[in-house]
């Protein structure tokens, strides 16, 4: 391995190697340089979009949904679709624009510095895509991606979402160990040609906007980790209906939805992954659950950390403007030492959050979901070949089940445990740190602005309401701390038992 040859083979007393602690150093020479240009491009796109759409409308949209909590921000989804944001990060082999997932976090930070709800209207769509990619079901990924691309061309947005949380099961789903003790209820009964599903999913980001829902169900709810399946349900499927739109404190433009499946039949063609598809693999179905879940979350948690960096930055920039315009006892706040120090703290928080999601990006590029498409020859092959040619070349491969089986063998059976733990641990750390730092900046911002900060018109109170959700979704910050411990600190210790609390 590269890291063993060129980097010191140092292991700290807690069992963390140099590679564990310095993904960035290992990535320097391996990450394609063009990704830096991609990052600059997407930041520029996001800024233009912010100035044209998000900044002028964010407060009014938030106010409108406060007045009418059932209002759906379709116009924002339309705008994001019109700007091509729902296909930008779909790989070219599936017909998308093929931007690297590494650049998505920078894009999300930029959007979230104006409004994190808009960030999540885009980000949650890629959570659905990540589920497809992490299951390595190429034909289904191609099918659904084609609909998203068609939706962009026709101006009828086609979004994906990921539905796991149930009314009685939130934290439970993050870990196979917890899942088996949990109270899941979304049951999929095997029938000829597919599954009949009954269950309810809650708090699903973008549920009311999505055309396709990627759902987690179980053949046996008493043995969920051994019998789980991921499947896709179209919004017009028989037996599927949308329930209530939650009335949230913040992130109001991004709906949290209830999805109801009542005797909903899912054909085999729409099953991303089930027991039948993994039985030839060496790993157990349960072990594959953890790999898929960790791979998805390692990607999505970089996004949540980027949301945190965005909010922290939005607050910092607002407070900086306020301090430059506001006088206390005849002096501009910007010239008061205590204000200067708080602004330095706030900028520090932005930078730390950004460094952390960048590190998760490096980890994902080296060891995670982005690895394959960031290998230099493949990256440049896909980047510079026209999309049509890529589709023509990759088309047949996507259809071959043997090709899919090989990919799954590589991604599941040959997956190195230490690499998975590294990405999962960093992602968990980034998630709870980025969201905590966003909250810290919001608190400082409100404290610094006094009554002005509490006014809706000054936006900091909106950032504050929005930021709190970052500490809750994608696993509560408490759970993420446990995951950081499990994957980075306790992983090589025989004396450690997780999720027993004894």
């Amino acid at each position: 391995m590269f890291t063993n040859i060129f980097l010191p083979d140092y292991v700290d007393p807690a069992g963390l190697s140099f590679a564990d602690l310095n993904c960035n150093l290992a990535a320097i020479s391996r990450q394609p340089r063009a990704i830096t240009r991609e990052v600059k491009t997407v930041i520029k796109l996001a800024r233009t979009f912010n100035e044209a759409v998000v900044r002028p409308q964010a407060l009014e949209m938030d106010r409108q949904i406060q007045a009418d909590p059932d209002y759906l921000s379709w116009e924002w989804v339309q705008e994001a679709n019109r700007h091509g944001f729902y296909t930008m990060w779909i790989p070219k082999m599936f017909g998308g624009k093929g931007y690297s997932f590494a650049s998505l976090a920078y894009f999300l930070e930029e959007i979230s510095s104006c409004c994190v709800a808009m960030g999540n209207l885009i980000g949650a769509h890629y959570l659905g895509l990540a589920t497809l990619v992490a299951s390595w079901n190429l034909s289904l990924t191609r099918k659904l991606s084609a609909e998203v691309i068609h939706g962009e061309k026709t101006g009828k947005p086609c979004l994906l979402d990921f539905a796991i949380t149930e009314p009685e099961s939130g934290t439970d789903t993050s870990e196979a160990d917890l899942l088996d003790k949990g109270r899941v209820a979304c049951q999929a009964v095997r029938e000829n040609g597919g599954y009949r599903v009954n269950g309810t999913k809650v708090f699903i980001s973008n549920g009311h906007f999505s055309t396709w829902h990627l759902v987690l169900g179980y053949e046996d709810v008493t043995r969920p980790s051994e019998t789980f399946l991921f499947f896709a349900v179209r919004r017009d499927a028989e037996g599927f209906s949308l329930g209530r739109k939650e009335h949230k404190m913040g992130q109001k433009a991004c709906p949290a939805s209830e999805l109801i499946l009542k005797d909903c039949f899912v054909t085999d063609a729409l099953v991303c992954l089930d027991r039948r598809q993994t039985r030839r693999l060496a790993l157990s179905h349960r072990e594959i659950y953890q790999i898929i879940f960790d791979s998805i979350c390692s990607s999505s948690k970089a996004g949540v950390c980027a949301f945190g960096a965005g909010i922290a930055r939005g607050v910092y920039e607002t407070v900086l403007g306020f301090a430059a315009d506001t006088k206390i006892n005849g002096s501009f706040m910007l010239n008061l030492e205590w204000v200067q120090c708080r602004l330095a703290d706030m900028l520090r928080n932005v930078v730390v959050a950004r460094l952390l999601y960048a590190e998760v990006n490096f980890a994902n590029g080296l060891y995670g979901l982005n690895k394959m498409l960031q290998v230099k020859p493949l990256y440049y092959f896909f980047r510079y070949l026209p999309c049509r040619l890529v589709l023509a070349l990759s088309g047949p491969m996507v259809k071959y089940t043997w090709f899919q089986s090989i990919l799954r063998k590589i991604q599941f059976d040959w997956k190195k445990r230490t690499e998975l733990e590294r990405t999962t641990g960093w992602a968990a750390m980034a998630k709870f740190t980025g969201s905590d730092l966003a909250m810290e900046n919001c608190r400082m911002g409100l404290a610094l602005m006094g009554q002005a900060g509490a006014r809706h018109a000054h936006q900091v109170e909106k950032f504050f309401r929005d930021a709190k959700l970052l500490q809750i979704y994608e696993g509560t910050n408490q759970l993420n701390r446990m995951e950081a411990f499990k994957n980075l600190i306790g992983r090589n210790r025989n004396d450690v038992h997780m999720f027993t609390d004894r």
């Binding site: 404190m249 206390i328 504050f464 408490q478 446990m482």
Partner: protein, 372 residues
């Protein structure tokens, strides 16, 4: 504490709790939508019937004779259910205290002598500002023995409901502000739309423009800051009492939820990390109660230091406790149906009471420890 006083406290506790549970709880969610929804005046009517807007007044005016401990008890019990009403009671009491500090008993008697409806008993006051912050934007002119105000005041709490306002303004030759009592039913005033804010939404806040509006001097000219800080020295504790009420509500709901919600095969309250969160909440609630209780018993300059120290500490605690209150409930805590999110917003908003938090801390170290 004497037995009779203990009985009085019990009576006040019982009355305020009953009011909160029977009246406020029913209207809490609906009123929290204000100003984007309607504000049901019934909560103010009932509070008026219970004499909550008279609490701080001298006994002969039907009040409890400026009894800080009793005021705090009532505020805490009300805030446990709805901090907005507690802030409305507190704001009125703050304005009354300014008038009492100024020795404007006659004016006060005049206001409350004519008091026939709930809104007559309210006094509007800029409770979220302090003299250290923005310079005054209201000039006061005297002509033919009549005082007229011109300019703008931001953040008048209860400004669109109250019949009278206490407003700082500056006479042209004065170096410092004076307080004026302004009757609100004047064509020369333009009351802005209620401000949409982070929390405390059923205690409205407005900006007001004055254009040669008639006002009456409260106390001596140029003494606004003096009256304000004397009021602040006591009322910072009353603000903290509101914070304690919010914290108690957040902790009670979190504890209850932790005993009902099951994750990982057992009640979440049985997981040690959740226990630690709950313990942090409980410790902050308990220590805040003790701080207020202790601070309320002192006298002299030390009592003032205690009040401020307790008040600033407790209000900061409330931000953390309510955040943990949401966290324990997870996704449900973030939803409007559960009151934790409202408490989270209210507690943070409350920290801006008396102005910018950092300035209040600097003021504390400067005045209490004579720092240059």
């Amino acid at each position: 504490m004497k037995q009779t006083e203990q009985n009085e406290y019990k009576l006040l506790q019982g009355t305020s709790r009953e009011f909160a549970q029977k009246v406020l709880l029913k209207h809490r969610a609906e009123n929290d939508r204000y100003p984007l929804g309607n504000l049901d005046p019934v909560v103010f009517d009932k509070a008026y019937e219970m004499d909550f807007f008279h609490l701080w007044l001298p006994e002969k005016m039907g009040g409890l004779d400026r009894h800080l401990g009793k005021l705090c008890t009532i505020l805490t019990n009300i805030a446990e259910v709805d901090a907005s009403m507690a802030t409305a009671v507190l704001t009125t009491a703050m304005a009354q205290e300014i008038m009492l500090q100024a020795g404007a008993l006659d004016r006060l008697a005049e206001v409350y002598g004519r008091c026939a409806a709930p809104m007559d008993a309210l006094l509007a006051f800029a409770a979220f500002g302090n003299p250290l912050e923005q310079p005054p934007e209201i000039s006061v002119m005297e002509k033919d023995g009549r005082l007229s105000l011109t300019g703008k005041v931001k953040g008048m709490v209860l400004g669109n409901l109250a019949k009278h306002l206490i407003v700082p303004g500056r006479f042209s030759n004065d170096a410092d502000n004076s307080y004026l009592l302004v009757p609100s039913a004047q064509a020369t005033m333009r009351i802005g739309e209620p401000v949409l804010g982070l929390g405390l939404r059923a205690c409205p806040l407005v900006d007001i423009d004055f254009n040669e509006t008639t006002g009456f001097l409260v106390g001596a000219r140029g003494k606004a800051a003096e009256y304000y800080w004397r009021m602040y020295d006591q009322f910072i504790l009353a603000g903290a009492a509101v914070a304690v009420g919010i914290m108690r509500g957040a902790f009670t709901d979190a504890l209850k939820y932790s005993q009902a919600r099951i994750q990982g095969g057992k009640k979440i309250g049985a997981w040690s990390e959740v226990q630690l969160l709950l313990a942090d909440m409980a410790l902050k609630v308990k220590s805040s109660e003790l701080l207020i209780e202790h601070a309320g018993t002192g006298s002299g300059i030390n009592a003032i230091h205690d009040n401020i120290a307790a008040g600033l500490t407790v209000m900061e605690h409330a931000g953390h406790v309510t955040s943990d209150g949401v966290q324990i409930l997870g996704g449900y805590g973030y939803m409007e149906e559960y009151s934790q999110e409202k408490r989270f917003r209210d507690a943070q908003h409350l920290q801006a009471l008396f102005g910018i938090s950092y300035l209040k801390k600097i003021h504390f170290i400067k005045t209490c420890y004579k720092l240059a």
